[in-house]
Amino acid sequence: MSGLEEFGRRVAEQQDRLSPGDEVIADARAGFLAASRDAVRRPAWPRVVFGGMAVGAAAAAAMFLFVLGGDLTVTAADTGRELEVGEWVNSPEEESLPLLFSDGSVVELKPRTGARVVELGDRGARVLLERGGARVDVVHRDATRWRLDVGPFEVAVTGTAFDVSWDPGAQIFSLELEEGSVVVTGPMVDEGRRISSGEVITAWVSKGRLELSERGSGEEIASASEAREAPGETVVEGVGDLAEEARPEEPSSAVEDPSGRSSRAGDTVPEKDQGGVAMDGRSAPAPAAAEVEDWISLARAARYSEATEAARAAGLDEVLMEGSARDLLALGDAARLSRSYEEADRIYNGVRGRFAGTVHSASAALALGRMAFDQQHMYSKAALWLDVYVEENPSGKLVREALGRLVEARQRAGDATGARRAAMRYLEAYPEGPHADYARKLLDSPGGDPDAYTR
């Protein structure tokens, strides 16, 4: 017998022991017999009248509900405390934290997840998942309006159950749908993509790669590269936010997968030994080109530490001279995610120097801003770089995110005036954006208290 079965048996045993069952059953019996006699005696016409009254009552109740409205409330399961709109919530290191909504919906934050409920309405809520993962169970009702902002993606939900995650460092979005359907909008899925029960969508934003597969089957339905081969397939073809902004004439030194398919990170990692084998069986020294290929392949395969190490081995100066902007941005991400911040800084700044005035340069500024914000917690520096990104690429796909982060970065840096200015700018551009409520609260808070909405 499992622990839960034993626990349940104990509950049942105590219920049976303490229950006033006989009295309750006797009362119910009397009520039931009276009701059944009435049902037999009742002539047909009152049913019609009662039916009409029931319809009328239902309509009145619906009108009552509509007029009264009433926004959802949300409580954190660990403390039972009701959360405020805009409040920052962090789940513990090793435990999940369910957020319980008054309509019965549950957003269970997985360990080490940061999120905030940015909107509570009468028909749903809007939750901003800034990092980590969540299990989402939305109770379906008529006209349910639930939204999740997950990194640069928006997930529109009716009634459904799914797992979603966002890694802001690696810029990987993943959604696995168990029941119902959702619509995902964001980079590579600008027009929105409906995800049905049993499907998994994964997007490597910085690599411009998106995959759709069957849940649990391990079989890929389609990928961006397949979509190129077979137009009209299930994947909306596109490139990622950073790569998307690359100039089309920019050649990429990326190594093509021999299979011609792109795939999940780690699935098609090229053999590490790219250098060939000498006649006597000993490894031959790898030529420079192979070394370049190696760090690129490793970076693309999300093997961050190895990619950074390979670039170091090949000589960072040389790599910075030879790599394409796209590959160098991927290498910068690899260094950042393997906590080699010095190298990451050098690589991103290298991109800015070599590709100054291009979207790559702006993307490097954004990456520097993200690194300062997420990994280094240097908020003044983050604000500086986020500002640079917005100035250099005002129509970039990630401007909304950058402006939202800018509000937070300035606020956390203690720059109340700057934060208020950024909040006004954000609201002007994105009055319905995921940071809108946060920005409004900031503007409404007395003296722009930098800690008022941050935990």
Partner: protein, 222 residues
Amino acid sequence: MTDVMAAEPRGAKRRNRECRGAVVRPIRFVGDDEAMVAAIIAGHPGASEAMFDRYSDHVYRVLMRIMGFDDEIGDLLQDVFVEALKGISSIREGSNVKAWLTGIAVHVARSCIRRRSRRRWLQFRQPESVPQQVSMDAPKEVVEALEETYAVLDLMPADERIPFALRFIQGMELTEVARACDVSLATVKRRISRARTRFATMAQRREPLKDWIDNSPGWRDR
């Protein structure tokens, strides 16, 4: 199909009713479930009573497992049998009446949970204010543990709470749970899996449940 009427049933005196000085003895129905259903459809006055007497204990327990000690449970029990009477003609020949009533009980309980959820939504009533019904001489720690168990279940969606209660508290087989909830076996497995994770996560944070959890071997190996 057997259909036997007994003029002087056991316990009939208790239910005798006086009418203008005469004693009216309801005719008690005696027969198997199939005959009972046929008799209810035919309007036999003792047949619906027989259905209540045969299955009220079971239905009461199912409701109690789902709802806990709750002042509305008597009303819900009555509702289940009223709904059963309304839908009696839809029962298929050879159907298991007990399982059919379990399904109705689940439906009635689910409607109640959702109704309360809507009330909470409008903030008319907080979950703590839901009245509870329990024997007065019950040990405090047991009452608290039961209350906490259902406080956790109150926080779960109805579609998870119900299969969880039926599987782990009522001890029903998965196929029975699936049938009662009118969903596929795969769906009920998924819901129970989610529910057990959710319940375990929340229950472990509740002090009154600590002893019960600690004394349930394998809880942490779930």
